[in-house]
Subunit: 394 residues, 4 copies
């Protein structure tokens, strides 16, 4: 196996069964490692199962050391890295976020060997961060938070100012009544943060009337802070998700011959209406007799439609499922993917919009359905003809 294929196998989003097996093992190892770390701190369990825990820990450590070594070997297989000598590609990988994390992941086992200390198991916590690589959504969360940085920092500054001011005031008000809990501003700050985040442990509580009135104001300020943060992140995150989805769909749509004919000027608009879906070979996309509220365009791969007595094969650029969408009747045939497929799904809501904005496209779909059904099924479609009479503009 050459480096490039090895690299590809280890990629978070890689398809294929070996890549899946690796990922499953990786995640199981992380889960096992964290579990061992957790249970090993319980004295009672350690005394009984301590040796078992340590052995499992060694096994997991070995796995992560091996993973680090394999990734190091594969590093020059990264796309674009072929221009540089192998050692530079490896160095670049090690100092990257992923490489550093994998390097840190080898430490718990090594520390245990070198210092012969059981406490090394605690470092197993590092392994949980290895999961971050497999959560692409976190990246978009980080960007959303990054975009709203200035606003969030303002909220945080406001939070800190209110926290400090309220704690200082509460210190002045309560220090007489409770010299222990409110004996200094740092002590009052503990009360302040517990109250303002509405965590409300209840271990320090104001006793005087002005102190309680101030506490009420602080609690309401806490709600406002929370509401502001939610508002800020709602905006930023929605935008980030929409951008990401649009970009992915656009790239797929632009490759489909059917849409190429309509010109780049409206691909952007069509891309907003479609949603890409991936299917494994053999997956059933549409089942005969089900209700149908969407149609599909084939971006890549091939599907087989079981219209008895014959079987029809459709490839990239063709579409299916439009008949149930137009007639409202259940699906009349089962559709199965014969190869791994990427389909573009057009839901009925978005089909209605397409009809409104680009009637010429909807007309193409309507004509195809008409032809496929043949003259005998004419009545079915006519019932809904009103929806398909594209008005005086055609």
């Amino acid at each position: 196996m050459n480096r490039s294929r090895l690299y590809d196998l280890l990629r978070p989003g890689a398809s294929g069964s070996s890549a899946r097996i690796f990922r499953a093992m990786h995640h199981a190892m992380v889960a096992a490692g964290v579990t061992v770390m957790l249970v090993d701190t319980v004295e009672a369990w350690r005394q009984v199962y301590g040796v078992l825990f340590e052995n499992v820990f060694h096994l997991i450590s070995a796995f992560f050391v091996a993973e680090f070594a394999v990734r190091l070997v594969a590093a020059p297989g990264a796309p674009g890295a072929e221009l540089r000598p192998a050692w530079r590609a490896r160095l670049a990988w090690i100092v990257s976020a992923g490489g550093l994390l994998d390097f840190l992941g080898t430490l718990p086992g090594l520390l245990n060997l070198v210092f012969e200390t059981r406490d090394a198991i605690l470092f197993g916590l590092i392994w949980v961060f290895k999961l971050v690589r497999y959560a692409p959504g976190l990246l978009r969360l980080r960007r959303a938070i990054g975009n709203a940085r200035q606003a969030l920092l303002s909220v945080l500054l406001g939070f800190l100012v209110v926290l400090l001011a309220a704690s200082s005031l509460e210190y002045l008000i309560e220090r007489g009544a409770q010299p222990d809990a409110f004996g200094s501003i740092p002590a009052a700050l503990w009360w302040g943060i517990v109250t303002m985040t509405n965590a409300g442990y209840g271990d320090t509580v104001p006793h005087t009337i002005p102190g309680r009135m101030l506490a009420g104001v602080v609690m309401v300020c806490g709600i406002v802070t929370l509401a502001l943060s939610a508002g800020i992140l709602a905006t930023g995150f929605a935008q980030e998700m929409r951008r990401h989805a649009f970009l992915r769909t656009w790239n797929i749509v632009a490759e489909v011959p059917f849409f190429q004919t309509i010109g780049a000027s409206i691909i952007a608009e069509v891309a907003r209406l479609l949603r890409p879906r991936d299917y494994q070979a053999g997956a059933v996309i549409v089942r005969r007799g089900e209700a149908g509220d969407c149609m599909y365009f084939i971006a890549s791969g091939e599907v087989e439609i079981d219209v008895k007595p014959e079987r029809l094969r459709l490839g990239a650029g063709e579409f299916f499922g439009e008949i149930a969408l137009l007639t409202g009747a259940p699906r009349i045939a089962t559709v199965v993917a014969t190869q791994p497929c990427t389909l573009l799904r057009l839901d009925i809501v978005e089909f209605r919009e397409l009809m409104g904005r680009h009637p010429e496209l909807a007309r193409v779909i309507y004509d195809a359905a008409h032809e496929r059904l043949g003259a005998s099924s004419d009545k079915q479609l006519r019932h809904h003809d009103v929806a398909l009479d594209f008005g005086p503009s055609l």
Copy 2:
């Protein structure tokens, strides 16, 4: 009564008085069943009313067994099921979510009979899930959560990583000071989740200064998690609601002759402006003398307008209520539904938009109002003519 009508009667959204009576009984039985289950666990009450509780429990159980039997009989009456033999339709129903739930709903009673155990009453909890079928909004919530799945999972992963890291750190910091509450990481995790969700029971509280500083950070992380979740769900849910409303309105609008003439290319746009409303026969839609801020298109059914001395009847495809909308005066006639009606309501805000985007439609409405009012009322409309002068574009 044939299967198909029976099936229809049991459908969650069925109209008609027998369907309503069934639903009311069903909900009452669920409420009674859950109440019996609750109160039966209170020792004092059980000793006094135990026999009563058990009898009510038997009654409710019998009702749900009967419901299961009736639904099983009716299963072949489902739309599209007539193509299959009756036993296959029944089997398909039993393995569906609804069928399984109804089957589980028969168990509390059966267990009580078979094992003669009072604890079977506890299984009555299952009945509460029968209500889920009657809450279509839950379906859309589930879809909204499903659409935001990846983002929510990322937030959850982040939540878990922070939770684990913070609990482990707090364990290291506090185990010296509080060997009981922070004696192991699993014990510290209890503190972690209570703090990070801002529940703040206050049963385990850090005592050291670094422990409290970490706790403050954890609380703020909890607020950010909450804010992120709210932001994610706000986006997804709004979208899901809009899609659902649009689809329903589109289907109604497309059937109204008045709108058919305008062509499918703008039905989608008009469908965004209208809101469907259902009325029972005899319902008063508009009352003379009220302020009028909307007009209605009749999608199906018939209404009677009481314009003294005569009574006017309007059917599907016609509209009314536009006069008060245009003149700003109170309603000049009462409108009553003579049959169950579906009306499409156009609020004044949306009428303004329609005027802006499709002046030709607004012109039709204006002309009709003019004609209905006659020459004598010309002055009333003229006062607002500015709003109806559709500018140079006409």
Copy 3:
């Protein structure tokens, strides 16, 4: 004073100094009434100031009885009520929400007189609801909640199902360890609601490990419930606010001659860009030397511009403030309202949009500014000419 003027005086949004004085007195009475009710329950204070409290209470009661009587007299003065006999208008008012509340507001005093009981002071709580009439925003909140009713009910049902299921499970898990706190499901429900709303009193806390794991899940469910509610209400409320603002602005814009010439088809769009503002006579709208980031259209009233050496008066349909907007320089004149005015404010952001969408309107504004400044100031505008060169489309 006739009934109609009296009615108008008592209207929540009435202008004029007598209406203001009445409102101020009303609110002060409500505040005083509630304060008396609060402090009268404190034993120590009642013993000392009891007689004072009672006297104030009598005074306030008398005020609200008087208010009820006056409103009853004024009821026939409501718009549209002149068609009915006076007693019917009064009856209609009493059974309305406002009338009922005012009637209830007379009860505390009457009960105190009739039953000679001091506890009547507690009924003063009713008075606080009288404020609701003066908060028009509450109406829109209620509509927003009403629009999202179905979704909120679904969330509530989900909340109840989770609450019930979790409490029942926790009862089974914890009843052995804590027979007091978790001795019955109703008792466990108390724990459930305290945990699921993340209030977290900490008076009942699970002790077993499975009980704590379940508690963690319940807390997270509570966060999701909160996030869902926030998401649902965010959508609905934003929509309601936009509708309200649009409707109000549209009505004002449609009356301004300047905008009438542009045709109804774009009034809706222009109405989105403008924000109405009310000014008292004598109010300073724009101050010489300030930075200017908006211009104003006069919807009604009159303003005086102090361009030395003379003073210019502008009336309804004219505009001012466009020069600072175009040149970026500070305001060159002070503008004062000589009568109560309603102005439509066009912020710089929206002016940029107007420029983009309706360059012909922006051109009108530009030409006026050019003319007002005269040839000498030509250079100032030219510096920004790029922004005003409306491209090849003109």
Copy 4:
């Protein structure tokens, strides 16, 4: 140094190294001052380090007195202030928000000197508010809160009404069982606010069953209040952020010759697609070999492109980075800012939109890329030609 330059140096957003040094010192002083105030209240620390704390306090006080003096001297240097005598500019500054804050900031030190009291250190809290001037995001938060004022006040009124009603009821229910905690309504209000904000200290908890049921309702009301506030602020804040970003970008875009040619009527639209970014001289904007998902327009400044063997310089109005955007290949050259630059960044998502809405602009970019790459690289671009075939509309 003249007043105008001095004023500019002290401006929050000033660039240049002296302005930065001043800001860093200022923030460090605030942080130190607050820290001293905090630790000085801890008895144990004060006894040991008290003298040190006091000396640091004097130093910081001196700094803020000096800052006040310098700002007073510089006040006449404000833009537009040159028309007035210097003393009026200074007076105007002192009574402004910033001037008042700076004046208050001199008090802690002065009070300490005049009254010789150690408690003056506590007044150091005022210094933390000096940071507000440096957080422009807070201004927009305030405007967002201001815009949603009416809605937030309505929520607050609802919150208060529910709080008062619930506390009064709980007082009636619980006063028998807990005469201490619920002995008066003011006492019950403490329970009410702690419960309704979901802080949940747990120091006062209802014991009776009706009391607990009411508490459950109050907790849910608290969640609804929070959800409503979040919803309201989400709307307002998103709008405020978008307005601010649009205005800033518009002002930059309108100055770029490249966009001037397209006419003001679409600058507003283009301004929505671009994001301004500032770079210091010497900053690396694009690095050879990186993935490229955006292109840049130069609004001001100059950049150097290292296309071996020669170096290319581009100035205001030109653009770069479009080749990687079009081909999808890694960046083929490194770009460095030779002067402080303001660039307008066009991300790939927005480039797709531009392509859809204004194909003529995208065509210009495409042609430039074609020319720069030359004939030899024709194949690279052709692979993506589909995305660049601007359809029949060209």
